[in-house]
């Protein structure tokens, strides 16, 4: 059983939805980023999405774009991102890590080599925003061979017919992008999320995580009630940014801010279905 399968099975057994946390690898600098990553499981992250910084993150809003910029300025690159995962795996062999980002840095690394190196580093899944199923073969074939799940994105604009194509070779989980737009902007109504999750559920047994526009503990809790997991990204990345001065240098408690917010999110998500049970 893969780490993702095991984690979602455990969540099901606990009767609760999961919390997926996004942070950008190398933000605000390499050292603190390693510390944040290491602290996420204890703070309550069930699955970790680790952003691979890219100069042109077209699906992301300003917060995540700035995080990418800070990471790149600090010297983060694909080799270091994989090294971070490998280091994390020395002490945690259970928390799934999904790399999220854009295709060009993977293509530049060499798709086959990246798949192999990511597999041996302990990466569990890949979310590549600009790599649709029609274009992915050169990467997805070696990735699957390395035991890595290709996480598919479904958007509000995705037709039922298209969902069939998307879930065909999907594994790990399905990521429902709940808003029409970039990360960290608007939020979708829970009723709208629920009906779309149901629409996807008709076509796959894979867990469904919902992201984009989920900022607060209460929003995360609401989403975790209707989906298998809630993904929070921008709001966590903003906690990192809030502890920096105007030049991006840490001026406050970066680790405490960030992990503290993750704890609040985790607490809310964990108590979400208790209410239902009562």
């Amino acid at each position: 059983m893969s780490r993702l399968e095991a984690r979602f099975a455990a969540l099901r057994a606990e009767g609760r939805g999961g919390l997926v946390t996004f942070v950008t690898a190398g933000d605000p600098n390499i050292e603190l980023s390693v510390e944040i990553l290491a602290g996420l499981p204890a703070a309550g992250a069930d699955v970790i999405e680790l952003g691979m910084p890219f100069t042109d993150p077209m699906a992301d809003g300003p917060a995540i774009e700035l995080a990418s910029g800070r990471a790149l300025a600090a010297g983060q690159n694909m080799v270091r991102t994989l090294a971070m995962v490998a280091a994390f795996r020395k002490t945690d062999n259970e928390t799934p890590i999904v790399l999220m980002g854009y295709y060009n840095p993977i293509y530049a690394y060499g798709p086959e080599k990246f798949a192999a190196d990511a597999g041996s580093a302990g990466v569990d899944g890949m979310i590549i925003v600009d790599l649709p199923p029609e274009e992915e073969a050169e990467f997805s074939i070696p990735a699957r061979a390395a035991g890595i799940d290709m996480i598919r994105l479904v958007a509000p604009t995705t037709t039922d017919e298209r969902i069939t194509t998307l879930v065909e070779n999907a594994s790990g989980f399905v990521y429902y992008v709940s808003v029409r737009g970039i990360t960290g902007t608007s939020s979708a109504a829970v009723s709208d999320i629920a009906s779309n999750v149901a629409r996807i559920r008709k076509q796959t047994d894979l867990p469904i995580a919902v992201g984009f526009g989920i900022r607060t503990p209460s929003q995360a809790a609401d989403v975790a009630e209707v989906a298998d997991a809630a993904v929070v990204g921008t709001a966590i990345v903003e906690q990192v940014a809030d502890a920096l001065d105007d030049h991006g240098v840490p001026a406050g408690d970066v680790i405490g801010n960030t992990l503290g917010y993750v704890s609040q999110l985790a607490e809310a998500v964990r108590s979400a279905r208790d209410g239902n049970a009562l």
């Binding site: 077209m58 690159n77 060009n104 925003v129 649709p132 994105l153 604009t157 737009g181």
Partner: protein
């Protein structure tokens, strides 16, 4: 090494690929939309009413056909090939860009879209989009890099006069690529009512093919005009390349004519051997950006490098995927000209021909000035004068150290 193909004009395949280039590398939210654009375009292309409306406005609004002009004094100056200019700078709005914006806005109307967005570098595409939107009374939002806004003030004011909203983009290098990111982010948030008018032969399928088709009027007219003037097809075609739409428009109708030498001129900025240039083919490598696989300026980690050129319209770290394919297949030669080369050509063209060229075609002219002297006097060379230089006089004055 290079294998000669039966045709260089059959692409792309049904998934939008030109060899390994092109494709549709976009976020899932945009996928249904791109299929919608593709289907609408295929239907429109086959519809005589659409073509009639397009052709009518091309004649009476844009002012086509643009002349094919024998540049006698440049020819005399070079003392070699006969140099012709395809005068696309005489189009309404002063560049070739309007050929494409007219086509795309007509398509957007057919699709029932009520809002238009565009990206712009030099501002020519933004002006051409704003113009057609004014013509049809459609709201228009143009994304433009903050650096470009500064160096292309006249075009920014033109767009505003035409009723467009100009949104400054200050991420990354604050130039054309960042403007394109801005437009893509807008589009993904307004998929229902908005049509994205891409200004060059790049982006996800079907844009590279669609923009090429709208711009091909340049080459189609040129064929007829040179037959009328010289009784034969030309020997050499030259055009500048940023994304590559004016070049593709001129080249495409000639690609299957054996023996015609076709040359694209990229912007070499301070020089290809420096890190300040915009020559994706000569100085870049294949990658994926803005919806397609093509040659890009990038580092070893796949991070996109900033492009540099005195010409805002060529200041883009990528190039249309069909050019990438034509480069690899060897059918088209790609060379480059530096900022200095372009500035020299710009001034010479003003003095010898009474034509103030845009800095973009000044790059093409710089290469013409390099090769024409060594060619025989019966050699016919056609260069696409794709834009006029009124917008550039401030940048040129600045580069020459002149205070206006």
């Amino acid at each position: 090494m290079t294998e000669t193909l039966n045709t260089y004009r059959a692409g792309p395949d049904e998934n939008g690929h030109f060899g390994i280039y092109g494709g549709r590398y976009v976020a899932e939210t945009l996928t249904p939309l791109l299929r919608e654009v593709e289907e609408a375009y295929e239907t429109a292309k086959a519809d005589p009413a659409f073509r009639a409306e397009f052709n009518n406005l091309m004649t009476h609004y844009v002012g086509r056909p643009s002349p094919l002009y024998f540049a006698s004094r440049i020819t005399e100056h070079c003392g070699g090939a006969k140099v012709y200019f395809k005068r696309d700078e005489l189009n309404h709005t002063g560049a070739h860009k309007i050929n494409n914006t007219l086509g795309q806005v007509l398509l957007a109307r057919r699709m029932g879209k009520t809002r238009i967005i565009a990206e712009t570098g030099a501002g020519q595409h933004g002006v051409a989009t704003a113009t057609i939107c004014a013509l049809f009374g459609i709201p228009c939002v143009v994304y433009m890099g903050a650096v470009d806004i500064e160096r292309q003030k006249p075009n920014v004011f033109r767009m505003k006069l035409l009723g467009a909203e100009v949104v400054p983009v200050s991420s990354g290098s604050s130039t054309l690529k960042d403007a394109m990111n801005g437009a893509l982010r807008d589009w993904v948030a307004h998929v229902d009512d908005t049509f994205y008018v891409i200004g060059t032969v790049a982006g996800p399928h079907p844009y590279p093919a669609m923009v090429r088709d709208f711009q091909s009027v340049i080459g189609i007219e040129t064929r007829e005009q040179i037959m009328a003037a010289e009784g034969r097809l030309p020997d050499t075609l030259v055009a500048c390349i940023g994304g590559g739409s004016n070049a593709m428009g001129l080249f495409h109708p000639f690609l299957d004519d054996d023996g015609i030498r076709v040359i694209g001129v990229e912007a070499a900025g301070d020089g290809i051997d420096t890190d300040r240039h915009a020559a994706s083919l000569s100085g870049g490598s294949p990658g994926v950006l803005h919806g397609n696989r093509t040659y890009l300026l990038q580092d070893d980690d796949g991070q996109i490098a900033e492009a540099h050129s005195i010409s805002a319209g060529l200041d883009y770290p990528g190039i249309g995927p069909e050019h990438a394919w034509l480069h690899d297949s060897g059918r088209v030669e790609y060379v480059s000209a530096t900022d200095t080369d372009a500035l020299d050509a710009f001034q010479l063209c003003c003095k010898l021909e009474g034509i103030i060229p845009a800095l973009e075609p000044a790059h093409a002219l710089a290469h013409v000035l390099r090769i024409a002297p060594d060619l025989p006097s019966d050699h016919i060379l056609i260069m696409n004068m794709c834009g006029r230089g009124d917008k550039d006089v401030f940048s040129v004055a600045d580069a020459l150290g002149v205070e206006i």
